[in-house]
Symmetry: C2
């Protein structure tokens, strides 16, 4: 480990993407694949091929379109065909090309275009596409039951959650992140188009977060409660931590997942109108941080070390802190959402929480159980959707495809 740490220093990068499996060649490629800092321009594409999927340690883009699909075909061969078609399309889309040849070649007038066209002329905009496989994919339909990873264990029921079944779960998911929502939407929409007759959209969520053009002014983005969110996120420059807590490895019990990771999504509706009438003191005590600066209780600045003892026992930061959960971290990558209004005079708004981790049983589950039981924030939030997905390792090259290790 110290060897890899020093290699990282040799590369001169305080960097994300220093990967699990060993050899120097692979580590070097990973460093090239996943830039550790924000893009120079929002137009530069991220590489599609690599040891890990992009969109996980990739610096969070501004916009999200997340979709969960139900597989409607019962044919394993058709599903594999689809994953191959999707992979080819994703390799093109993430590089700023159309899903098919339509834009460049014009297209046959008698056929439906093989790209829907709304991103013609737009650059890649930092698009990443990240696929995941839900627990329901491992039922009897496709003969995958024996290959279900132990870490893909169904989440327990959490106190207070009010999950809407139609907005939860899914056989497959794709996370599209980009600096331009039109580009993210275009990618998801074309994957759905390609999947016509084999998959159908189960649920879908748009989100927004930081804005690249302005993110220099606001390093840690704020959630819709007005607090900085992500100050104590998993540190992408900590290679040992990523290896221990982000990337799955063969000994975890599913060799096809080595280099992959597990994704938990939670749609967390906020009753922002009630929150907005809560005093500043109560808001800050609930979070355990100062609202303007984000400094933890008793400290001056956002990144000062937290003093848990100075906080109320049920402060959010204290309840979620790794020290209370066997040093369990999460790589959070959530986005704010507003879905219009709720018909009761309120905005339908909140956080679409996204967390990547090596094993939800040891990470998301204990942390969320502690929060669900005692976090006073629960008075202002409600979990209404939940998703759990195994995100396979990256696609190595043009001969590989999403999930080949699982189906091959």
């Amino acid at each position: 480990m110290s060897e890899r740490m020093s290699r990282r220093k040799v590369f001169g990068l305080g960097a994300a993407g220093v990967a699990a499996a060993g050899a120097g060649a692979i580590a070097a490629r990973s460093l090239v694949q996943e830039p550790p800092v924000a893009h120079a321009t929002t137009s530069d594409p991220f590489p599609f091929y690599g040891e890990h999927q992009a969109g996980i340690v990739t610096p969070a883009q501004d916009r999200l379109h997340f979709v969960a699909f139900d597989v409607t075909t019962g044919s394993r061969a058709e599903l594999v065909d689809l994953l191959q078609e999707w992979t080819a399309a994703a390799a093109r889309l993430t590089q700023g090309k159309e899903a098919g040849s339509f834009g460049a070649a014009g297209g046959s007038p008698e056929a439906a275009p093989d790209d829907t066209g709304e991103a013609l002329g737009l650059p890649a905009s930092g698009l990443t596409l990240t696929i995941g496989f839900g627990p329901s994919l491992f039922d009897r339909r496709f003969g995958l039951a024996a290959r279900r990873p132990p870490a893909l264990a169904d989440l327990p029921k959490f106190p207070g959650e009010r999950l809407i079944p139609e907005l939860s779960g899914g056989d497959l998911c794709v996370q599209a992140c980009a600096h331009d929502p039109q580009v993210a939407v275009h990618a998801i929409r074309n994957l759905a188009r390609i999947g016509f007759g084999k998959v159908s959209v189960r649920w879908s969520q748009l989100g927004f977060g930081r804005t690249s053009s302005t993110s220099r002014a606001q390093v840690t983005p704020r959630n819709l409660m007005g607090f900085k969110d992500g100050t104590n996120n998993m540190k992408l420059e900590d290679a040992a931590l990523l290896r221990d807590q982000l990337w799955a490895a063969a000994p975890d019990g599913a060799d096809w997942m080595a280099g992959g990771t597990y994704l938990v999504t939670r749609k967390i509706r906020m009753t922002i109108e009630t929150w907005d009438r809560t005093s500043l003191r109560e808001q800050e005590e609930i979070f355990g941080r100062d609202k303007v600066k984000g400094a933890p209780v008793g400290k001056q600045n956002e990144f000062d070390p937290v003093d848990l003892a100075a906080m109320k026992p049920d402060a959010h930061v204290r309840l979620a802190h790794p020290s209370g959960h066997g040093n369990a971290h999460l790589l959070r990558r959530g986005y704010n959402y507003v879905d219009g209004s709720d018909g009761l005079g309120r905005l339908d708004a909140g956080l679409f929480f996204i967390a990547y981790q090596r094993d939800p049983r040891k990470q998301f589950v204990p942390i969320q159980m502690a929060l669900a039981r005692t976090d006073p924030l629960n008075e202002y939030i409600k979990h209404i959707s939940s998703g759990l997905f195994a995100c396979p390792p990256g696609v190595r090259d043009a001969g590989d495809y999403w999930g080949r290790g699982l189906f091959g």
Copy 2:
């Protein structure tokens, strides 16, 4: 008129914002207020005070949050108080400040903050806030019936529309446009917060369109059918046209609306999955334009003059063309939307159509009636929400407020 045209040329600007009422001083101020070209940076604020409201001829920002409110107080005095409070907040928000003093001054710990905080540290991001008054505001509650403008006549029923009443209408609306959705959402959310107990959110819509960082690559943005949308929009550099067809004037029948304009919104759901399986030939014949370039039928380039006779009689461009409606133009300012999925395996997506005009009876209504009757595009779209609002003239200075001419 030729005088004003030449003055415009003297100013050297092919410009928006050349205003209705006469004197040179006013015309010059308008030119200063509303930059004719995209911002140098996305951080520069647009002026709030002026003859016209911003957000109308302002070059379209990237993101939209549109909200319609019901007034829940029966007190005219309370409503006027609210409009004054909103105006003061809007003057601050559009300049990149918080809605109240919270951010700068910290705020009393025992009170709820007078700003919700999620835009702390973000720049103005080109935010504009534009208010409108719906027909229902002119019922008996506030004694305004006699002041209802003739041009604010209820829209007729259009063939094929499937309006959802709860997503339509509204006593008041506010259009927030910005380059950053967090900034647009923050503004609407704070107006709703300030209005607590006096108004409630009736419906609300997020939208996206062009992206400033990429708009140089795609001058005319594309709708979710993949076609360029807005090629033949009202020309902002045509001062005579704006005076004739955009800005209301005192002789129109409501003197308090002079310098204002009328807004029609339509939420147009697209069945994009069906559209995506339609041949390129049929798609292009329906629109009357080439999909890749946007060139009209028989022409080579997007901005070539249209040859209506070369198109099918029911091509969209031909049906909507001003020549068929007494030379009626609309200033369109719509945004694409995706609201997740519809529970039937499809994306819930389309166009949130926004059009400003001097008199909907002579502009939107005849154009939409022609489209609703015969446009083959109707097979792929459905109007599900409708809004009609009188947008008063701009706020002149800090002593003025939104709607003073109506209530004063």
